[in-house]
Each structure stands twice: as structure tokens, then as C-alpha cells.
């Protein structure tokens, strides 16, 4: 018996929601970045599920997933570099303390 695609989509949705919540609410910049990773992986899960259920003959979705993984790795590197610089500049990684954007 095959699990219907809805199951995968629900998991993906949950993963995305958790990631978004982390991005929005975590004070620690590193934790917010981890939220971004979760959201990206939610998207990956969607891709793979759709591939498996609808277009098993085509490679498009798998390629997309590989690209997303590569982008995620790059994003993590850049993001951590930014966090490191934030720490050097402000002496903290608490996002509530860093408010240069305030008008």
C-alpha cells in the first residue's frame, strides 16, 4: 500500500511552518538561519514527492532538488559568515539587539 501524496505534503507543510516560525521568532541569528534550512528542505520534500507521484519518468524535480541543496549549502556559508561579522560588529548575535534598520 502506498502512502498518498497528501501525507508527504502535510509533512512538508509542517516542516515549512516550523522553519518559518524559527526564522521569525528565534532571537539567535544562527537558529534563524537553521529555520531557513528547514524551509528549503520542505521545498525539497515537495519536489521529490511530486516527482515520485506525478512524473516518475522525468528528472526535472531531482535536478531541482540537487540545485536547492547546492544553494542551501552556499546560503549556509554566506549566512554564517554574515553572522560572524555581526558578532564582530555588535558583540552579539541577538537579532533584537541589532536594529540598524530602525528609521
Amino acid at each position: 500500500m502506498m502512502i498518498p501524496i497528501t501525507g508527504y505534503l502535510l509533512v512538508s507543510m509542517a516542516l515549512f511552518a516550523v522553519g518559518a516560525a524559527a526564522l521569525i521568532s528565534r532571537r539567535n541569528a544562527v537558529a534563524a538561519l537553521m529555520g531557513v534550512e528547514l524551509m528549503l528542505n520542505a521545498a525539497n520534500l515537495n519536489f521529490v514527492a511530486a516527482w515520485r507521484y506525478y512524473w516518475p519518468q522525468q528528472m526535472d524535480a531531482q535536478i531541482a532538488v540537487l540545485i536547492v541543496i547546492a544553494v542551501a549549502a552556499a546560503e549556509a556559508a554566506v549566512g554564517l559568515a554574515i553572522v560572524l561579522n555581526l558578532y564582530r560588529r555588535f558583540g552579539t548575535v541577538d537579532l533584537e539587539q541589532i536594529r540598524l534598520m530602525r528609521g
Binding site: A20, L23, I24, L95, I98, R99, L100, M101, R102, G103
Partner: protein, 692 residues
């Protein structure tokens, strides 16, 4: 055997050579150097004499050719045994070279509306065409040019810069090229060139603001007319793929359909002629053009260039013949211009302006003749007018040279001091008035004959567009113009030469130098004899266009016109011989105001340009600034800015500067957008995947 006609291209080539030589002299020797100033007039005069010799030879040969072709036709029982029929173009000397050849034979034009036409080769040719029209015109242009140049020798002596001779060379070359052209395109090119030279020469004294303004006015107004001619050229090219006059004649007379009605093409050509030949309402530039040197006025704005419009219509008359309703327009505008300008000429105080309006009036006369299907008469008047009007302008120049004013009320009593000028001016004036036996009498008579033939319904070409009643009206207008012409000519001559000097300069005037009086005497002689010499030739050369009128009717006509001219002279003499202190015409009140204010035509154009056009322009400017720039461009930016402003408050919300709060709002909006889009998609689109 080589003939003069084979060298007829030199008629244009020699003035071009003179242009190049004078330009070289100016470049090499410097513009104020004595050398270029001394040599320029001689170069031009020598070139003109040589060209005149060739053109006289060509005229002789052309006339011989015509006689020959007539004989041949009679012997072989050929195509034009009929008296009225014109010889075809093939009878004339014609030579052209291919200028632009299409790469491959082009397909027929894709105008599916019109019926199939013969194949078109679309080669652009330039060349010379010597028919009697062109041959006579060449001699007229060259003779007047030469005499004006000799006159300028004295008149322009004080001018520092030899560019006068440069422009005059270019003008003469262009005018001769216009006349000798074998195709309409070539004619159009030279047509624009004479316009350019006219502009340069009107603005010769460009330091004077009036001269500079007059030059621009002349250029703009004539260019407005040229637009019509250009359209006509384009339409003819689209229709027939060939612009040479011989091919066009065959095509048009053969009834090959054109892309637009022939009447429209004829009217467009006429519009071009209206600009150049100063027909109402495009006449406004010609009086102002008198700001140029008087010898320029004589050559360009009286004798030759302004006649180019008449020449153009005569040249393309085969189109007008096929479009009689265009002829009606030509006749009406011509007759109106003749009368209209004559009334203004009656009240002018500037000697050159009197003659300028007289020129407009006479050009209107010629147009009227063309419109009444009497092109030979119109062309005849063109030639005689070229001589006597050039003479009149040169005498005016001589007078102005002597008294340093152009106001005829500041002259007077010059007869005793300037006998040669006075007598030659009298001859020119009497010719203008149409007194026997001067040149103007014969040509004016031919025009009136043409009008009478139309009035009597004897001209087949226009019989169904110009009713006899209209014909009579035009004839009466023409006769009224004769009366007025005689009146204003007498007024001018009497005020200038008779009575007592009315200014200090007039008391101390002297006769002009021999180089000037020489031209006056020659032109006066031509005016005296050309009536007798040219009449038989021309009338024989170009057959009458109407059924023969009763000789009695012609004598009546001549008698009436002569009587009217004499009445005009007597009337003018009676009013002005006593040298009244004030203008007697003032008694006419409103009419006098109209005459002196040019019937408010200029004021109308000023109003049109100043109020209507500028008003419209400022409205459009306001619309652009307020609605396009202000409303649409700035408005978009403003609305976007306001939205951003509003959303900044929402976005920043309770936690300004919080990056994560911004991210939250972005998420929220993204979710809303996606929900909205999917709601739309599910109701309006059938998606392949989701619908499965």
C-alpha cells in the same frame, strides 16, 4: 553632325562652372581680396554669354525641328495633321542618362485596387528636353540674367563680398536646369535649388533684421507649397514608375490609371506652383522678398524664379488637361490673385512693393490663362512679362540708387535728371499696362482672347467645368485688372518722375552709370520689338487652344482692353499729375485701409500663427506637463510612494527596525497572495496537474 542641341547640357554646365570658379577664387584669394571681387562678375558674364549663344542655337534648331516634323506629318498623313494637335515629345531633342537603375526588374506595384498596368522599369533618368517651351524659356532666362549681371556691375559696386556672384551663378544654373529638365524629379531638385538661392539672395544683407526675416519667410512659405509638388511627384512615381515628361504624357493621355485621382495630383502640382509663383494665399512672401538687392528682385522675384510655377503648370499641362476640375481651381485662384494684388499695388508707397504686387497680379493673370486652357497665351505672357518687369525693376533700382529711398512720395521730378531711366521705365510701364505696340499688349491680348473663348463656350477642354457665366465673370475680373494695372503704373511713374522733387535727395539725383543704363536700354528695346518679333513665332509655334474666334469678336476684345488701359492711364494721370500732397486714394476710406493693410492677409497669417497655432501649442504643452508628466508619470511615482509610505507603518508596526518582524509581514503577504492566486486558479483555470 553635332548641333547646338547636343551641347545644350552646357547651358547648365557653364553657370555651374562659373559657380565653381567664383567659389575657388573666394577660397584661394580670400573673400575681401581685390582679385576675387574684380574677377567674379567677369567669370559669370562670360559664362552667361557662352550659354546664351548655345541656347539661341538650340532655339533655332528646335523651331526648325518642329517645322520639319509638321512637314513630315503632312507628307505621311501622320498623326497630327489636325491643326490643334501638338507634336509628340518624340519630335524634340531629348537625351537622358540612367541615374539609378533598379537591380532587378521590379514586379508590378502591389496595388490591387487598380487595374493591371503595363510593366514598369523604374529607372530614374536625368536628361535634357528641348521643346519650344524649354528652348524659349532658356533664352529668356539667359538674356535677363545676362542683362541683370551687367547692371549689377554698376549697382553692386560698393559691395565688399563677391558671394553675390557666387549665389547668382548657382541661381542661374539651377533655373536653367529647372527649365531644361526632362523629368519631373530633376525639375523638382532644381526647383528646390532655386528656392535655396532665393533664400540666400533675399538675405544677402543679412545684417538687416528685415532682410533676414524676409528670407526665412520666403523659404518657409515656398517650402509649404513645395510639399504639394513633392507629394505629386511621389504619386506619379507610384502610378507610372517613370518621371520623364515624355513617358508621363503617354501614360496620362493613354488613360493609364493612377493611384490617386489625377485631379488630386494636378491640384498638388498647382499647390507647389502657388508657393513659387506667389498665388493667393501663399503670395505673402514675395513683397517681403524685395528686401534683397534690386537686381535680385529683377531677376529672381520678377522675371524668372516666380515664373517657375507657371512653367511647371505649363510643363505638366497634360495632367491638367485630363483633370478639368483642377483647371477651374487654377483659373479662379489666378483671376482672384490678379485682381486682389492689383488693388494692393494701387496704394503702395514703396516703389519696389508696387512692382512686387504688380508681379503677383501678372502671375495671377498667367495662372488664369493656364486655367482657361490657354497655356500658350500664358507662356507668351510669361516671356514678355519677364522682359518688361525686369526692366521696371532695374529702373526702380536705378532710381533707388540715385535717391536712396524707396518711398515714391519722397521722389518726384526725376524726369529731368534721369532721362534714360525715366523713358525706359515709361516703356516698361506702358508694356505692363498693355499699350500697343509694346510686348505686354500682345500677350495680354492673347490671354483675354482665351478668356473670351471660354466665356463664349468655345474651349472644349474646360467647357463642362467652367460655365459661360463663370467665364464672363473671369473675363470681367481680367478687364478690371487691366484698368487697375494701368492706373497704378501711371501713379507710380507720375509720382516718381513728374512734378517737383519732394525731398533733398530727389533734388540732387543723378543718372546712373552706363553699365546700368546699358541694360535698361537693351531691355527696353527688347520690350519694344519682342511683341512684333516673337508674336508670329510663338503663335505659329504653339497652336491656338480653342476654336477660332470671330475676328470681329477679337477686335472688340482688343478695343475694350485698350480702352480700359487708356482710361486707367488717363485716370491715374489726372489724379497724380498735380502731385498732390496727400494720397488721394484716402477718400476711399475702408477700401483704402484694405489696400494699405494688404487686405489683412498678413495679419490673418500672424493671427493664425500667433494665436491659433501658438494657442494650440501651449494647450498641448500644458496637456503634456499637467496630464502626461504630472498625472501619469509623476502620479505613478506619487501613488507608489504613498503606498510605500503607508506600508512602512504597517511593516514596521509595533517593532520598528526589527528584521524578523519584516520577514513576518512578508510571509503574511506572500501567503495572502498565494491564497488569492490559488482561489483564482481553482475557479477560472483548469490546471492540468491539480485537476487530475
Amino acid at each position: 553632325m553635332t548641333t547646338f542641341s547636343d551641347y545644350s547640357w552646357l547651358i547648365v554646365g557653364l553657370p555651374v562652372l562659373s559657380f565653381v570658379l567664383v567659389a575657388l577664387a573666394i577660397i584661394v584669394a580670400g573673400k575681401t581680396q581685390r582679385f576675387s571681387r574684380a574677377v567674379a562678375p567677369w567669370v559669370l558674364i562670360v559664362c552667361l554669354i557662352a550659354a546664351l549663344v548655345i541656347s539661341l542655337g538650340s532655339l533655332r534648331e528646335t523651331l526648325g525641328r518642329e517645322a520639319h516634323s509638321k512637314v513630315v506629318a503632312e507628307e505621311t498623313g501622320g498623326s497630327f495633321t489636325h491643326e490643334n494637335e501638338q507634336p509628340p515629345f518624340s519630335a524634340w531633342y531629348q537625351k537622358s542618362i540612367d541615374w539609378l537603375v533598379p537591380e532587378a526588374p521590379t514586379a508590378q506595384p502591389a496595388t490591387s485596387i487598380v487595374t493591371p498596368r503595363p510593366p514598369i522599369d523604374r529607372t530614374l533618368r536625368v536628361g535634357v528636353l528641348l521643346d519650344p517651351l524649354a528652348a524659349v524659356m532658356l533664352v529668356v532666362v539667359l538674356l535677363v540674367s545676362l542683362l541683370v549681371q551687367i547692371y549689377s556691375f554698376g549697382y553692386m559696386k560698393r559691395e565688399e563680398h563677391p558671394r553675390f556672384y557666387l549665389f547668382m551663378s548657382l541661381f542661374t544654373a539651377s533655373m536653367l536646369g529647372l527649365v531644361i529638365s526632362s523629368s519631373l524629379l530633376m525639375l523638382f531638385i532644381f526647383w528646390e535649388l532655386v528656392g535655396l538661392c532665393s533664400y540666400l539672395l533675399i538675405g544677402f544683407w543679412y545684417q538687416k533684421p528685415e532682410a533676414a526675416r524676409a528670407a526665412i519667410k520666403a523659404f518657409v512659405v515656398t517650402r509649404f507649397g513645395d510639399l504639394g509638388l513633392l507629394f505629386a511627384v511621389v504619386f506619379l512615381w507610384l502610378s507610372y514608375g517613370d518621371l520623364s515628361f515624355s513617358a508621363l504624357t503617354i501614360a496620362v493621355k493613354g488613360g493609364v490609371p493612377s493611384v490617386v485621382p489625377l485631379t488630386a495630383i494636378a491640384l498638388l502640382i498647382f499647390f507647389g506652383a502657388m508657393g513659387k509663383s506667389a498665388q493667393f494665399p501663399l503670395h505673402i512672401w514675395l513683397p517681403d522678398a524685395m528686401e534683397g538687392p534690386t537686381s535680385v528682385s529683377a531677376l529672381i522675384h520678377a522675371a524668372t524664379m516666380v515664373a517657375a510655377g507657371i512653367y511647371l503648370v505649363a510643363r505638366t499641362f497634360f495632367i491638367f488637361e485630363m483633370a478639368p476640375s483642377a483647371l477651374l481651381v487654377v483659373a479662379l485662384i489666378g483671376a482672384f490673385t490678379a485682381l486682389f494684388a492689383a488693388t494692393i499695388a494701387m496704394a503702395q508707397v514703396d516703389m519696389k512693393k508696387v512692382m512686387a504686387y504688380s508681379t503677383i497680379s501678372q502671375l495671377g493673370y498667367m495662372m488664369m490663362g493656364l486655367g482657361l486652357a490657354a497655356p500658350a497665351a500664358a507662356f507668351f505672357h510669361l516671356t514678355t512679362h519677364a522682359f518688361f518687369k525686369a526692366l521696371l525693376f532695374l529702373t526702380a533700382g536705378s532710381v533707388i540708387h540715385a535717391v536712396h529711398t524707396q518711398n515714391i512720395w519722397e521722389m518726384g521730378g526725376l524726369y529731368k535728371k534721369m532721362k534714360v531711366t525715366a523713358i525706359t521705365c515709361l516703356i516698361g510701364g506702358l508694356a505692363l499696362a498693355g499699350i500697343f505696340p509694346l510686348a505686354g499688349f500682345f500677350s495680354k491680348d492673347k490671354l483675354l482672347e482665351g478668356a473670351l473663348a471660354v466665356a463664349l463656350g468655345k474651349t472644349a477642354d474646360v467647357a463642362n467645368v467652367i460655365s459661360p457665366g463663370l467665364g464672363w465673370l473671369i473675363l470681367i475680373v481680367a478687364l478690371l485688372t487691366v484698368l487697375m494695372t494701368a492706373f497704378y503704373t501711371t501713379r507710380m511713374w507720375t509720382l516718381v518722375f513728374l512734378g517737383k522733387p519732394r525731398s533733398h535727395e530727389a533734388e540732387h539725383a543723378h543718372e546712373s552709370p552706363p553699365s546700368m543704363t546699358f541694360s535698361l536700354i537693351v531691355l527696353a528695346a527688347v520690350t519694344l520689338v519682342s511683341g512684333f518679333l516673337v508674336v508670329p513665332h510663338l503663335t505659329g509655334m504653339i497652336a491656338p487652344e480653342h476654336e477660332a474666334l470671330d475676328p470681329m469678336q477679337i477686335y472688340m476684345m482688343t478695343g475694350v482692353s485698350l480702352l480700359l488701359a487708356l482710361t486707367g492711364i488717363a485716370w491715374g494721370y489726372r489724379v497724380y499729375a498735380k502731385a498732390p500732397a496727400r494720397e488721394p486714394l484716402r477718400k476711399l476710406g475702408f477700401i483704402y485701409a484694405g489696400m494699405t493693410n494688404l487686405w489683412w492677409v498678413n495679419a490673418f497669417f500672424v493671427w493664425l500663427a500667433g494665436t491659433v497655432v501658438l494657442g494650440l501649442a501651449s494647450f498641448i504643452r500644458w496637456f503634456d506637463k499637467a496630464v502626461i508628466d504630472g498625472g501619469l508619470v509623476d502620479g505613478t511615482a506619487w501613488v507608489t510612494g504613498r503606498i510605500g509610505h503607508t506600508f512602512r507603518r504597517v511593516g514596521a508596526g509595533p517593532l520598528p527596525g526589527q528584521l524578523q518582524y519584516y520577514a513576518f509581514v512578508i510571509f503574511l503577504i506572500a501567503v495572502l497572495v498565494i491564497l488569492g492566486m490559488s482561489a483564482f486558479a481553482s475557479t477560472h483555470l483548469s490546471m492540468g496537474v491539480l485537476g487530475r
